[in-house]
């Protein structure tokens, strides 16, 4: 049995050629920041070395920061985490894509079970996943309007329950 440190070190070595940077946010975690072009080779390196399994794909909306003059500092981005687990170790491949060009390659040819995560990413965050085998709706209702992505920060539900204030 390898120790947690050895398992993480192995992943770090495998991913090193593709990483823009990496850090250890917690003792059992390794975060590796990648450019979109290196996503497939990085996933391939983990899969071919049989390093753990893909646990989930997490999308995070990073809207543009608003400066004082009402102008935005940079354009909004969607950050996507591909989290792989091996024992207690968790490696997250982190890729950022801008709203204007929110496109990622599908990792389904390497990991078929990623399809559900990729469909969720498309519906909830509006990231186009190129080459994913199934683009039909998984979660949202058939009547849900096109181009509305509920997990983006800019999406505000029409009526919010605010802690019982509304006659709760």
């Amino acid at each position: 049995m390898s120790t947690l440190e050895e398992i993480l070190q192995k992943a770090e070595n495998l991913l090193q050629p593709f990483a823009q940077s990496s850090n250890r946010p917690e003792s059992n975690r390794l975060d590796v920041y990648l450019s979109r072009e290196n996503l497939i080779p990085a996933v391939k390196a983990l899969v071919e070395a049989r390093w753990g399994y893909l646990s989930t794909i997490t999308g995070i909306d990073r809207p543009a920061a608003v400066l004082e003059e009402g102008q935005t500092s940079e354009q909004g981005e969607i950050e996507v985490l591909y989290s792989f687990c091996s024992g207690a170790a968790i490696v997250s491949l982190r890729v950022r894509v801008p709203y204007a060009d929110a496109v990622l390659p599908s990792i389904c040819p390497l990991i078929p079970s990623a399809t559900l995560g990729e469909r969720e990413l498309m519906e909830m965050f509006g990231v186009k996943v190129e080459g994913t085998p199934d683009t039909s709706r998984l979660i949202l209702a058939d009547s849900w309007p096109e181009g509305v992505y509920p997990l983006r920060k800019s999406f505000v539900p029409a009526a919010r329950f605010s802690g019982g204030a509304e006659g709760g």
Binding site: S55, A114, L116, L151
Partner: protein
Amino acid sequence: MTFEQHGENRFVVPIGPQHPALKEPGHFEFVVDGEIVTGASVRLGYVHRGIEKGAEDRTWTQNLYLMERICGICSHIHATAFVQGVEKLAGVEAPPRARAIREIFAELERIHSHMLWLGVAAHEGGFDALFMYSWRDREVVMDMLEMLSGNRVHYSANLIGGVKYDLTPEMTDKIREGLNYLEERLAHYLDVVNNDETFIGRTRGIGTMTREQAQLLGAVGPTARASNFAYDVRVDAPYAAYAEFPVEMVVAQEGDLHARFVVRILETMESIRVLRRIFENMPESELVTRVPRRIPAGETISRVEAPRGELFYFIASGGGEKPERVKVRTPSLCNWGTVITLAVGHKLADMPMILAGIDPCFSCNDRLVMVKRNRQDPQVWTWADLRNYGIEYYR
């Protein structure tokens, strides 16, 4: 998951969304050639409630209650995954006794969940006597949970930093008594599952998944362990009190429906064993530790072993009153992929049991949609509307 490979002359049998096998909504389309299934697809989302979005609009404490309501079967484990993540962000650890109590609730929950499943899966196969007996016996563990917390479904045992309920020696005695009875019953069910000829006829060699398939398809929990894909968060990355009171991982080689029954029954017996160990060596400490008012900015990943497999929480804090992002990946979502693949080559009549075989939980997957008023104007329900509707309905 597409039909492309099946050409023009396909015959599609739609099943669901109402009552596809379990009494929860999911829509399946099975492509058949005579009686044999040649392709399958799934459509979820019928009970999406917008919980991940809703989490961003609620305080850390409100979210504890919201997360517990993701699922009515494994409610405690959702709250546990959430509080453990928040505690990591806050840099605190729950006291030893609180962690042991979390494990007690989690294992009682696993017993009730596996027994619920045993009944449902038996029912899908037409073994209604087994269904009724296992649900009758499940009441024993439901009574234990009610005795501990006052609740049968949402026990609300967790607080950020600890637990609410303590166990008295009288309570543990009562639970021990119940566990003795359940152990006897489970031994009987194991005997039925292994030796009843008609039962074996419907389970052995059905829906077989190899270890490689389980890994490739991303199976988790008992579904994966029945295919000898040995991982269990309780063992691999112990949380709560699993380091002090470890469980033995239960695996099987066969990978068929029968193995899924055996693994779950043996796991339930293992839960009983570990509960007895905790009662013998219950740590003494306070129940709650002090937690800072503000949860510092940061990100964490919290993983736990729900009855159905690995449950994954990604929690991001911006340092404010509310989380920036809470991502919940439930075990059932992982296991759907296996059903779609395993269905191929089997008789349509085997589908309900194969579906039930992964112990799917729809409300776990389905968390993200708005409830709409079924009227001319598709206006969204407000909290007050829902409340009034509820009052009117039961008047």
